[in-house]
């Protein structure tokens, strides 16, 4: 093998260090117009009137688009999987987050485009806004979405992602101690150094060439074609060079709207977001609200766990149902828990829509589960590494959704952490392995937990 294990130089290293890598904003196309967006100044409001006539009449303005210009207004990344969309490409009669795009202008300069945006007459009627996912989950909270305040389409018609495994009542009846905790990681902005940007060029053959910083080229191709109701071969996306993304460039943030401007103006158009727009209007990692209750024996076995997860989708679902599904499959973290009761909801708030970010849906679990495990260890007076090793996933143990693990690494990882931090472990923990459980590490309540690893 020439590559595996070899320390090969990166293929684009020399281009990066000589300034020759061409990012989207480095693409120069003569005759390019500049796009600017009219964005919602409110977290939640009805749009009571809008008139773009003054902006359209300004010299140097070549196109103004609103929801009326979008052939298919609502379409989502998960639509191809049969999951209904809830987000209009451009807001129609209601805005649900600060910065939501309502109209776009293409003009000779960025400055002129900004002036034209200011010339759009628009009136709003503010509505109550919700920013806390737990508050949004209360029945009496104002409704901010036409679906209610949480997503109702899991498995077609479920309003939650639920997991039931084993006998949760037995676990809590037989517990020596029940440890509870609530964990609430905050939103995180990806903050790539390159802001959202795209350049779209109309070609003589009728196609559109789209220079995009997307992380998800084929997702975007499908989304653009669907909104515009055009065949896929109408679009050529040039991607692959991204100035940082971390999940934040999975949504199709700019391309579809810029294509609409190009079709209307019949000129190349570039749309690049300011740093302020990137912070205020681009998607973030979701805030989460996670409530855990764990049924423990006094010698440190986890008999069962109940969990309620509220995933803050922000104003629209986007990829959140997928993120919550991953979250539910991983909600026991690196540990084997035989009896489970999990309910997870994708809850809408008036925050910026949330999306993928490095370990989408799973980092929240790690934060909650690991913080909770340390709390459990403290309450039981058990060493925090030992309690983790005792309950660690082993080969053959099954995940919350019943998949048998073939290659878990919890024990090796914990041993490496203990070594690296000088944490003393008893002899029987130092020799522990990932091999299937037996002897004292396979108590009666875990026997049914072991599944077959055949077929993996």
């Amino acid at each position: 093998m020439k590559v595996v294990g070899a320390r090969i130089p990166r293929y684009d290293g020399v281009a990066h260090v000589t300034g020759r890598t061409t990012y989207v904003d480095d693409v120069r196309v003569p005759g390019t117009l500049w796009a600017k967006a009219l964005r919602s100044p409110h977290h939640h409001a009805a749009i009571t009137s809008m008139d773009t006539a003054k902006a359209e009449a300004m010299p140097g303005v070549h196109a103004v688009i609103t929801w009326k210009d979008v052939p298919l207004l609502e379409y989502g990344h998960l639509s191809a999987l049969g999951i209904p969309a809830d987000e209009p490409l451009l807001a129609k009669d209601e805005v649900r987050y600060l910065g939501q795009p309502i109209a776009l202008v293409a003009a000779e300069t960025e400055e002129l485009a900004a002036h034209a945006v200011d010339a759009i007459d628009i009136a709003y009627e503010e509505r109550p806004a919700l920013f806390d996912v737990r508050q949004a989950f209360d029945d009496e909270s104002p409704k901010i979405h036409n679906w209610g305040n949480w997503y109702p389409h899991f498995e077609g018609e479920m309003d939650r992602r639920q997991i039931r495994k084993g006998d949760i009542d037995w676990a809590f009846e037989n517990a020596d101690l029940i440890v509870q905790g609530t964990y609430r990681p905050a939103a995180i902005e990806h903050a790539p150094i390159e802001t959202q940007v795209c350049q779209v060029v109309p070609e003589p053959n009728g196609r559109l060439t789209i220079y995009s910083c997307t992380q998800a080229l084929y997702f975007s191709l499908g989304v653009i074609a669907a909104h515009l109701q055009q065949p896929l071969n109408k679009f050529k996306i040039v991607g692959g060079t991204t100035g940082g993304g971390f999940g934040g460039k999975v949504d199709t943030a700019t391309e579809t709207m810029t294509c609409l401007l190009v079709l209307k103006a019949n000129r190349p158009v570039k749309w690049r977001w300011t740093r302020e727009e990137e912070f205020l209007c681009s998607s973030t990692r979701a805030p989460w609200h996670m409530e855990l209750a764990t049924a423990m024996t006094k010698d440190g076995w986890i008999l069962g766990q109940k969990m309620l997860t509220l995933h803050d989708a922000g104003a629209y679902a986007r990829f959140s149902p997928y993120g919550l599904t991953k979250h539910s499959f991983h909600h026991t973290g690196a540990y084997s828990i035989p009896n489970l009761h999990f309910d997870g909801y994708v809850v809408f708030t008036n925050r910026t829509p949330t999306t993928a970010m490095r370990g989408f849906g799973v980092t929240s679990v790690s934060f909650a589960v690991e913080t909770h495990m340390s709390r459990v260890a403290k309450e039981l007076g058990i060493d925090p590494v030992e309690i983790r090793m005792k309950n660690a996933n082993r080969i053959g143990d099954t995940s919350p959704n019943g998949v048998a693990y073939t290659d878990p690494s919890t024990i090796d990882t914990l041993k490496a952490i203990a070594d690296a931090t000088g944490h003393e472990l008893p002899a029987d923990y130092r020799t522990m392995t990932n091999e299937p459980r037996d002897g004292e590490l396979l108590p009666e309540h875990l026997v049914a937990q072991v599944g077959s690893t055949e077929g993996h």
Binding site: P9, V14, T18, G19, Y23, P192, I193, G244, T274
Partner: protein, 171 residues
């Protein structure tokens, strides 16, 4: 106004208050300096003005008239990389690459000014530069290696200090 960039004099028609970054990128087509924030916060637009690192997004172009402006394109080419450029390649100090031009110009000025491989001094010199990908360790390793005058084998990549555990201590 006339601007000298990477040793070449250019006549520029734009207004003197236009940010130097915009003149370089939009009028002269020199796209090495990047517009990460356009408000002096990220360092990706850094160029050298008479050898000193400057944020070209905050500097009116007229202020650079009569100076020697150096962008990343001016410190080396693919066939003739400067020591800092070689160090960034060998130490895998660029991931997405968007902050790299500015980082390297700050490093270039630091070493030209007699900077050593002292990590704290390097952090101070690069303190105004934001990288969102790498976690900075490899960048600091690269600058330290260039400051020491290391030779770089560009057919391979350096072993990072956090790589040893995964490779069983191969470093």
């Amino acid at each position: 106004m006339n601007l000298t960039v990477n040793g070449v004099e250019h006549h520029v028609d734009g207004g003197g208050l236009t940010p130097l970054l915009d003149v370089l990128r939009d009028e002269l087509g020199i796209t090495g300096p990047k517009a990460g924030c356009h408000q002096g916060g990220c360092g990706s637009c850094t160029v050298l003005v008479d050898g000193e690192p400057r944020r070209s997004c905050l500097m009116p172009a007229a202020y650079a008239e009569g100076t020697q402006i150096t962008t990343v394109e001016g410190i080396g080419s693919p066939d003739d990389l400067s020591p800092v450029q070689q160090a960034f390649v060998h130490h895998y100090a660029a991931q997405c690459g968007f902050c790299t031009s500015g980082m390297m110009l700050a490093a270039h000025a630091y070493i030209a000014g007699g900077g050593t491989d002292d990590h704290e001094a390097i952090q101070e010199a690069l303190g105004g530069h934001v990288c969102r990908c790498t976690g900075y360790s490899k960048i600091i390793d690269a600058v330290a290696a260039a400051a020491r005058g290391d030779d770089f084998d560009l057919t391979t990549t350096a072993v990072g200090k956090y790589t040893t555990m995964a490779t069983g201590g191969a470093a």
